[in-house]
Structures are given as structure tokens and as C-alpha cells.
């Protein structure tokens, strides 16, 4: 009771505050905004730009893989004569491109662009708060993200090229400038960029956790929170607990690179000389990296799953099936994600018993994942389905999650991993769950919450075209990779021309690249639709999707403090769709219970 009263008072006080119209300058409204809605949009636009950089990189290396000996003006245009002489990609730059592509996509697009956008936009609106717990720290979290992005992009222009040891940057390769040109200044900039990124993530994550726990409006019990918030909440907890470990890994790497420490280095002879470091272990880095790295992929995935729960439920006009089971799955996935990291390290020479533990925990994580899939499918069953572009992407997410999740079972089995580790089989798996499921969640969220972000509507027909072309092309890109990998073809290979044994499968690389090119063009449709609609889209109504959650009770035009008057009180969970005995097929969370009505 006390907590609710406090929140209502805070809301009341803030409501007063909102009425004192504080003068906003251009800088405080558009640049150093402390309003969570603006910050969310800043994350989104930055992520879209970074995504395009990563997509162009992928097109360049896909051209190389499909047609290894040919030159492309496209590559020469972006990389110049130094890195693509005659349009033929340099083999060091190939590794640089796959490294930066991975780094940008995992961190900047799928963490910054997914969490950063939707946590910021939705948390205060869906829990019923005026803004995040600390608007100032929130503002800093965006600007650190921006600085991090600029630093990462600047690393593309140093003489030795950007970091090139894979997005996983294992030492000693990433520690020794003599091992590859990208391990020079480019690697230092990568580490600086990631330090800024981690700072951004931590600031955001702390805000998210505090706001969700402390600033819920009256009546918003934890069990009345939309699943999107549950998912983002766990994501933030995961981030706060795991990103600092990456920071420590990066710091130790920086020390090994600069002042001669030997955390990761021992017994190395390179470039004609024995190095003096002894006693360190490269495996230490891998443990530290993957301690973040594994939760990181759930940080990428959980918000997408949460968004999907919301959109599938709203657009099926039906409650999400198994709300509590869904919460339980999110918690189980969150917990288990901390004890599976070793499955990335089965063949490092790590103690085999330790490997067995990770096999067990990793296979266990398939259980809550499966439960989520079954619940999504059952939500659709006997629903009344409206196929908006957001809904299409959400359904697409479930399909891709099935495919990617199932191959995870093979990779989790260490005995099988021996045969497929670091082959294209792995590349297929993680792209399907991240480059399809997670990004589909992001697209779904953008289409669904665009009216809330910008007060306008995106074009539906373009949305349909975007979805179907992307869905088809993405499968076309990633499915063949399973076969290339099962044929034994390693990843991060510049070309397969030196291996006749792969000659009969490498033409699949052409299939992959053609689908990749068409898929990339489809994203032009999306980008155009997005930016055009920001400026010239038709004006949105307050609740275009007839959704129950709180964000749709705010006015279309953004105001500081979100609600013009007091923050509404919540009386029910968010999933009263097609509830028997109700005139409409939706009931907003703020609608009080009817006389005699039971809350679910």
C-alpha cells in the first residue's frame, strides 16, 4: 500500500511539475534530451545508421565468398585501392570486415538498437511513470552510445585497418600488433569504443531496473506488467551483471597490449622474436569474454521475445497463452544464461569434466525456450488475427526461433560440437537466432510502436513487402550455411579456392550472396518507409492497435511526464482481449473491474 501511495504522490508531484512549462531549448529538446521517449528514438536512429554500415560490410565480404577471384567496383568504391585493389578484397580486410560486422550487429544494433530503443520508450510508458528514474543518467547512456559508435567507425580509417580478430577478439591474436595489422591501433580503438559502450549499457540498465521496481503506478503489480517489461527487466539485470566482466576482459587485454603484462600471454615466439611474457593463459580471456558473451545473446534475444508476446497477443485479440509460464521461462532463461558460457569453449583444451557441466546446462536452457514457442503458437490458436506488419514479423520471429533453437541442441552437445565448431554450421545457427529472430523482434517493435514514437503511421503496404522479401531472403541466406558447415567448411575463411574438397558445396555461397543482395535491397524499402513516415506519415490516433497497455493511454503528441494529468491507476493485467462479457474485444489496463467481474 505504502509503495503504491508513494508512486501516486510522485506521479502527482511530477504532474504538477509538468504543468510548469520549463523552457526547452533546441539543445535540451533534441540533443541532450532527458526525456526517455526522445532518448529511445536517438538510440533507434543511431542503430539504423550503424546497421547500414554493417550491412554494406556484409555485402562486400559476401561478394568475395561467392566469386572469390573477381573484382567488384562496389568493394573498390568503399574500400579504395588499398584494401580492395582492382575490386578484389584484401584478405586482412576480409577478416576486419567480418569482425566489425559482427561487433556492430551484436552490440550496436541488437543491443543498443533493441534494448536502448524499446527499454527507453516503453518502460516509463508501460509501468506508468513520468520518466526514467534518472533522466540525466539516461541522457548520458545515449551519448556514451553515440561516442562509442563514432569511435568504432573511426577505427575503420586507421592505417592498419580496424580490429580483425573476429568480434570475439581472442588473444594472443588480438593482443599482438605483429600478428595482424588490425591488431594495432584499430584494436585499441575497438577496446575504447567497447568501454564507452559498456558504460552506456550499464547506465541504461541501472535506470531500467530501478524504474521498473520503484516507479510503477498505482495498481501496477509485478504480475500486471506486460511481458515486454518482464523481458526488458531481465535483460537489464543480465546486462548489469555481465557487462562489467567484459570490461575486465578488455582492460586486461589493453594492459597486455600496452604495458607488457601477461594475463593472456605465455610462451610466444612471433615475428622472429621470443616475447617475454610467461604465465598467462589465452583461455582466461575466453572465460571472461564468454561470461558476458553468452548472457549477451540473451540480452539480444529477450527483448525481442517480450516484444513478440505483446504484438502476438494484441493482434490475435487474445491473451498471451500462459502469462505466468512465460514469466517463469524468462526467469529460467535469465538464470541459466549465466551458467552456459563454456559451450563456446568445448574444444579449447578446457577440462572435459567442466565441458560436461556446460553441456547439461546448455541443453536445459532449451526447455524454457521451447515452452515460449509453444505458448506463442497456442496464443495464435483460435485467435482473431490481424496481420499488421508488426504481427508478421512477430510470427516470423517464432518461425526463425524454432529453426535456430533446434540447431542449438546439436551445438550444445560437446561431442557433436567437435565436428562443427567454427564451421558454417555455427554461423547459420547464430545468424538465424540473432540475424533473424532478434532483428525481426526489432522490426516488429518498430512497426508496432512507430505511432507512439513519432505520432505518425508507417506505410502498411511497404511493410508487407519489406516483411515477405526479408523473410524469404533471410532463410535463403542462412539455411544453406548449415550444409556448407556440415561439409566441413570453416568460418572466417577468406576463400575456399585452396580446398578442392569443398568445391561441390561452395556454389551454395552464390545462392547465399544473391539472397543477401536482394535482402539488403529490401531494407532500403524499410529505411525509406521509416524516415519518410517520420516526416510525412499520416497522423496517428491515440490507440491505433486497440491495445490494452498503458502507453496507448498517453496523448499522441509527446509531453514531458507522459500523461497530462495524474498517472492513471491500473486495475487489471494487460491481456483482457476478447474477454467474455465485454462489449469490445479489448479492455485497457486502466479500466476498473465491472461489478462482479473477476480479474484474471
Amino acid at each position: 500500500m505504502g509503495a503504491h501511495a508513494h508512486a501516486a504522490d510522485a506521479g502527482h508531484a511530477a504532474g504538477h511539475h509538468a504543468h510548469h512549462h520549463h523552457q526547452e531549448s533546441f539543445i535540451s529538446k533534441w540533443v541532450f534530451s532527458q526525456d526517455h521517449k526522445m532518448i529511445g528514438k536517438q538510440f533507434l536512429v543511431t542503430a539504423i545508421i550503424m546497421a547500414w554500415v554493417a550491412v554494406i560490410m556484409s555485402l562486400i565480404f559476401r561478394l568475395q565468398l561467392a566469386w572469390p577471384e573477381e573484382g567488384f567496383a562496389f568493394s573498390n568504391f568503399f574500400l579504395g585501392d588499398k584494401w580492395a585493389p582492382g575490386g578484389v578484397l584484401d584478405s586482412n580486410m576480409y577478416l576486419a570486415l567480418v569482425t566489425i560486422h559482427g561487433t556492430i550487429m551484436v552490440f550496436f544494433v541488437l543491443t543498443g538498437g533493441l534494448s536502448g530503443t524499446f527499454a527507453n520508450l516503453l518502460i516509463p510508458l508501460q509501468v506508468g511513470a513520468r520518466d526514467m528514474a534518472s533522466g540525466f543518467i539516461n541522457m548520458l547512456s545515449y551519448w556514451f552510445f553515440f561516442l562509442s559508435s563514432v569511435t568504432m567507425l573511426s577505427s575503420l580509417f586507421v592505417e592498419g585497418g580496424p580490429a580483425s580478430a573476429g568480434w570475439t577478439i581472442y588473444p594472443p591474436l588480438s593482443a599482438l600488433p605483429k600478428a595482424m595489422p588490425g591488431s594495432g591501433a584499430g584494436m585499441n580503438l575497438w577496446l575504447i569504443s567497447m568501454t564507452l559502450f559498456i558504460a552506456s549499457s550499464l547506465m541504461g540498465g541501472l535506470n531500467y531496473v530501478v524504474t521498473i521496481l520503484n516507479l510503477r503506478t498505482k495498481g501496477m503489480k509485478m504480475t500486471r506488467l506486460p511481458l515486454t517489461i518482464w523481458a526488458i527487466f531481465l535483460t537489464a539485470v543480465l546486462g548489469v551483471l555481465s557487462f562489467p566482466v567484459l570490461l575486465s576482459a578488455a582492460l586486461l587485454l589493453l594492459l597486455d597490449r600496452t604495458i607488457g603484462t601477461s594475463f593472456y600471454l605465455s610462451d610466444i615466439y612471433i615475428a622472429g622474436e621470443a616475447l617475454e611474457q610467461t604465465g598467462g593463459s589465452p583461455i582466461l580471456f575466453q572465460h571472461l569474454f564468454w561470461f558476458l558473451g553468452h548472457p549477451e545473446v540473451y540480452i539480444v534475444l529477450l527483448p525481442a521475445l517480450g516484444i513478440t508476446s505483446e504484438i502476438i497477443s494484441t493482434n490475435s485479440r487474445k491473451p498471451i497463452f500462459g502469462y505466468r509460464a512465460m514469466i517463469g521461462s524468462i526467469l529460467a532463461i535469465g538464470f541459466l544464461s549465466f551458467i552456459v558460457w563454456g559451450h563456446h569453449m568445448f574444444i579449447t583444451g578446457m577440462n572435459p569434466f567442466l565441458g560436461s557441466v556446460f553441456v547439461a546446462t546448455t541443453l536445459l536452457i532449451a526447455i524454457p525456450s521451447a515452452v515460449k514457442v509453444f505458448n506463442y503458437i497456442t496464443t495464435l490458436w483460435r485467435g482473431n488475427i490481424v496481420l499488421t506488419p508488426g504481427m508478421l514479423f512477430s510470427i516470423g520471429l517464432v518461425a526463425t526461433f524454432i529453426a535456430g533453437g533446434l540447431t542449438g541442441i546439436i551445438l550444445a552437445d560437446s561431442a557433436l560440437d567437435i565436428a562443427v565448431h567454427d564451421t558454417y554450421f555455427v554461423v547459420a545457427h547464430f545468424h538465424i537466432v540473432m540475424g533473424m529472430s532478434a532483428i525481426f523482434g526489432m522490426f516488429a517493435g518498430i512497426y508496432h510502436w512507430f505511432p507512439k514514437m513519432y505520432g505518425k503511421m508507417m506505410n502498411t503496404k511497404l511493410g508487407y513487402a519489406h516483411f515477405w522479401i526479408t523473410f524469404i531472403c533471410a532463410f535463403g541466406v542462412f539455411f544453406p550455411m548449415h550444409f556448407i558447415g556440415l561439409a566441413g567448411a570453416p568460418r572466417r575463411y577468406y576463400s575456399y579456392t585452396e580446398f578442392p574438397m569443398f568445391d561441390s558445396v561452395v556454389d551454395l555461397n552464390i545462392v547465399v550472396t544473391v539472397f543477401a543482395i536482394i535482402g539488403a535491397l529490401a531494407q532500403v524499402l524499410f529505411t525509406y518507409n521509416f524516415f519518410y513516415s517520420v516526416y510525412r506519415g499520416p497522423k496517428a490516433v491515440q490507440n491505433p492497435w486497440k491495445s490494452n497497455t498503458l502507453e496507448w493511454t498517453t496523448p499522441v503528441e509527446h509531453i514531458h511526464g507522459n500523461w497530462p494529468g495524474p498517472i492513471p491507476t491500473v486495475h487489471r493485467w494487460p491481456y483482457d482481449y476478447s474477454k467474455p462479457g465485454k462489449a469490445e474485444d479489448w479492455v485497457s489496463q486502466i479500466t476498473p473491474l465491472d461489478h462482479g467481474e473477476e480479474e484474471h
Binding site: F321, I347, P352, F475
Partner: protein
């Protein structure tokens, strides 16, 4: 000129799109249609696509299986490979039906329950029995997978039998070297500080230590002599740094010699420091069929990975560590070349290669690097030849005739004689480090 043309096309294209967008805006306004109102026609179209898509999806999957299924790795040529392939097949038998059933339900439901404003969705927010059922069922299946997976893993990673030959694969940017234990059957100790042109793997013997010491002494003397010239300050600092480094290296090699002597004192003939001279360092990688070999893996510079896909074995090469993997190959290279599946695959590959004027492909087992290691990671390979045990022994006998050090190491008394030239060279080095002139 072409650039100008492209630019014009792009600009005109953008203008065209902008105009089309304006037209669309106006017509929408006229029709009074709102973007969020999904028309029944649009719903039905997308619902139909939801039903058509799985046909294309499964069709694509089927095509890939039919067109490429027989181009996957052929029969596994090792005992653990056979184990692995069996386990993989079991996993496919579980995964593929689940894949089809869940996808069919998903797309079927997505297309069937098209929105109808006169209908209400079925209100059923949960069913606890169902949740329990579909939690327990996967748990059971996964439990079975875990048990089978871990028993296989245990078989693969258990220590090699004491009778297995231990041989070494040594990785560096960008090639592999094999090392066999020689007539004494034991791989010699190594130290990376002894690496030079004559000793690429850093094998420790009295001679290699002497040679390396002499090199360091010579290099130091040259560096000191070069200081007599007129040089810029930065160059002087560089040379002085170098001299300090060389002194530290020399001190460590002195220490290595001490360690070696202590180890020999403690273990006698069993000390690995006595077994390096007869090792065979070679670019020929041979394994005997039907006999266990324990492959020890080391790296000179960065992480590499020894991956032999046809044997289904893989293990990282980590600098500062020795990793290992054991293997029992079951099919010789010659036999593989006659297996129908392999013959067909080789023919298919040559049908592609020969018309392109490329060299003919003959089947070979191959060792590939499978951990990103730099510019030539994509071409760090070594062929592996698996022969019958008898042929292997014959090959090994021939190979043993070219040991690492042509002369076998001299008998033990020399080790404990502290007045021998090695100790003399060491004291010379130490004296030099102390700034005294070396005694001739």
C-alpha cells in the same frame, strides 16, 4: 561520365519515388483509409501467404537436402567419428520432426484464424496441465540427449591408453609441422626461447641450448659493437633496450639449462629433456589405422585449431599450453579412395574443376586450421596420410633415420660435468652481461 549518369539516375529515382508517395498519400486521404485498418483483403492475402510460405520453406529445405545432402562429409574414418555421426543422426531424428510439426502448426494457425469482426477470439489465458506436459516432454527428450551426449564425450576425451604413440602437431602462422617421438618413443621437451631457424619447434637438447646461447652472445656482441658508431639518441636507446632483452633471454636460458639438469637428476632416463634429439620434425603427417595415437598440439604464436573433418576431430592449439586429442583412424587413405561414396564425390568435384582448367582432385585426409589466425588462415593446411599399421611402421622406421639432431645425444656423464663447454659458454654470457670482456 558513368558516375554522373548513375548519380542522375539515382536522383531521378528518388524524385520518382517521392512523387509516387505523394500520389499514394492523396489517394489514401480520398479513400478515407487509415494505415492501421488492415482491410479484409490484406488480411486474407497475408493469411494465404502464411499458408504458401511453408511450402516454399520446406521445399527449399528439401531441395538443399536432395541437391547437397550427398556432398556432406563422407563416412567418418575414425572410431570417435563413427560415434559422433551416430549421435548426430539421432539428434536429427528428434529435431527434424519437431521442426516440421511446430512450423506447420505455427503457419497453419497464422493463416486459419483470419480476423473477422463478427467473431471473438477464444478466451483461454492458460492451461496448467498443458504447460506441465510441454515442459516435461522436452525435458525428458533433452535428458536422453544429455546422457547419450555425455557418454560419447567421455569416451572421446578420456585419457589415451599408455601404449598409444604420442606425436605432435605444431601450429604457427601459417603452417603445420608434425613431430614424431623417434626411436626412443618419447617426445622431447621444448622451450620457445630456443626457437631459431635450425630449431623451429624449440626442442630442448644440450646442443640446441648451446647454439642458442652462442647466438645470443654473438648478437649481443654485435649490438655492443654497433654502439661505437655515431647514432641518433633514439637508435642508441633501441640498441640498449635490445641488449637488455638479450641479457634477460640469456639468463633465462641459463635457467633452462639448470632446470634441465635438475629434471634429469630427478628422473634419470625418463626425463623428457633427454629425448629430443631423436625426434623427427617433418612436414609429412602420417597416422596408423586401427591403432590409437595421442596427438599433442602446440602453437608458436597465437591460437590455431587442428581440425581434421574426415576424422571428426578438432582441438585448439594454444600458445603456453599443450592440448591433446586421441584418435583411432579406421580407414586408410587408399581405402577411402575406393569407397563408392568418396569416389562419387571426387568425380563430382573433378567434373567442376577440370573444365575450369584446375588441377585434378585426389582424395586426401586434410588437417585445416579452424581458429581465426590472420591473413592466411584460409590456407593453413597439411595433408594427412593414414596407412595400415604395418605400412606406418615402415614409414616411421624410414623417418627415424632423419632425426632432429643427426648425432644422438652423448651419454650422461657429460650432463653432470660442470667444466664442460656449455657451462663455460654460460659463464661467458653471464660475464658479458656483467660488463666484462668475454674470455677467449
Amino acid at each position: 561520365m558513368t558516375k554522373l549518369l548513375i548519380l542522375t539516375v539515382v536522383v531521378l529515382g528518388i524524385l520518382a519515388v517521392a512523387q509516387l508517395a505523394r500520389v499514394y498519400e492523396l489517394t489514401s486521404k480520398l479513400r478515407g483509409k487509415r494505415e492501421e485498418d488492415i482491410t479484409p483483403a490484406d488480411n486474407r492475402m497475408n493469411a494465404m501467404l502464411m499458408w504458401l510460405f511453408p511450402i516454399a520453406y520446406f521445399g527449399f529445405f528439401l531441395w538443399l537436402v536432395l541437391a547437397y545432402g550427398d556432398k556432406m562429409l563422407p563416412v567418418a574414418a575414425s572410431t570417435q567419428g563413427a560415434d559422433t555421426d551416430w549421435l548426430l543422426a539421432l539428434n536429427w531424428w528428434i529435431i527434424i520432426p519437431v521442426f516440421f510439426i511446430t512450423n506447420i502448426l505455427l503457419f497453419y494457425f497464422a493463416g486459419k484464424y483470419v480476423y473477422d469482426k463478427n467473431r471473438k477470439a477464444h478466451w483461454q489465458p492458460h492451461d496448467n496441465k498443458l504447460e506441465l506436459a510441454w515442459t516435461i516432454a522436452p525435458a525428458i527428450v533433452l535428458f536422453v540427449i544429455i546422457i547419450l551426449g555425455l557418454t560419447t564425450w567421455q569416451r572421446i576425451t578420456s585419457p589415451a591408453s599408455p601404449e598409444a604413440m604420442r606425436m605432435e602437431l605444431y601450429a604457427k602462422q601459417f603452417d603445420w609441422t608434425a613431430r614424431y617421438p623417434g626411436t626412443d618413443g618419447m617426445l622431447g621437451a621444448t622451450d620457445f626461447r630456443l626457437i631459431n631457424g635450425d630449431n623451429p619447434l624449440g626442442i630442448v637438447t644440450e646442443k640446441t641450448i648451446d647454439k642458442r646461447m652462442a647466438e645470443l652472445v654473438q648478437e649481443r656482441a654485435d649490438a655492443v659493437a654497433s654502439l661505437d658508431q655515431v647514432l641518433p639518441d633514439s637508435k642508441v636507446a633501441e640498441i640498449e633496450h635490445r641488449i637488455e632483452y638479450l641479457d634477460r633471454m640469456a639468463a633465462r636460458i641459463v635457467n633452462l639449462r639448470l632446470v634441465m639438469q635438475q629434471d634429469i637428476k630427478a628422473k634419470g632416463e625418463a626425463s623428457t629433456y633427454l629425448h629430443g634429439a631423436d625426434d623427427v620434425v617433418t612436414k609429412d603427417f602420417y597416422l596408423p589405422a586401427n591403432r590409437e595415437t595421442d596427438i599433442v598440439i602446440r602453437s608458436r604464436d597465437i591460437i590455431h585449431s587442428a581440425y581434421i573433418p574426415h576424422l571428426r576431430i578438432q582441438m585448439n592449439a594454444v600458445p603456453g599450453m599443450t592440448t591433446s586429442m586421441k584418435v583411432v583412424p579406421t580407414i586408410t587413405t587408399d581405402s577411402m579412395r575406393t569407397i563408392p561414396e568418396v569416389v562419387r564425390q571426387v568425380e563430382e568435384i573433378n567434373a567442376i574443376r577440370l573444365p575450369q582448367g584446375k588441377s585434378e582432385y585426389v582424395f586426401d585426409f586434410l588437417l585445416l586450421c579452424n581458429k581465426i589466425c590472420g591473413a592466411s588462415h584460409y590456407n593453413m593446411q597439411m595433408p594427412l596420410i593414414v596407412t595400415s599399421a604395418g605400412d606406418f611402421d615402415a614409414w616411421l622406421a624410414e623417418a627415424n633415420k632423419k632425426p632432429f639432431e643427426a648425432m644422438p645425444d652423448t651419454a650422461s656423464p657429460a650432463m653432470t660435468d660442470t667444466t664442460n663447454t656449455s657451462a663455460g659458454a654460460d659463464s661467458m654470457a653471464v660475464a658479458v652481461a656483467d660488463g666484462q670482456a668475454p674470455n677467449p
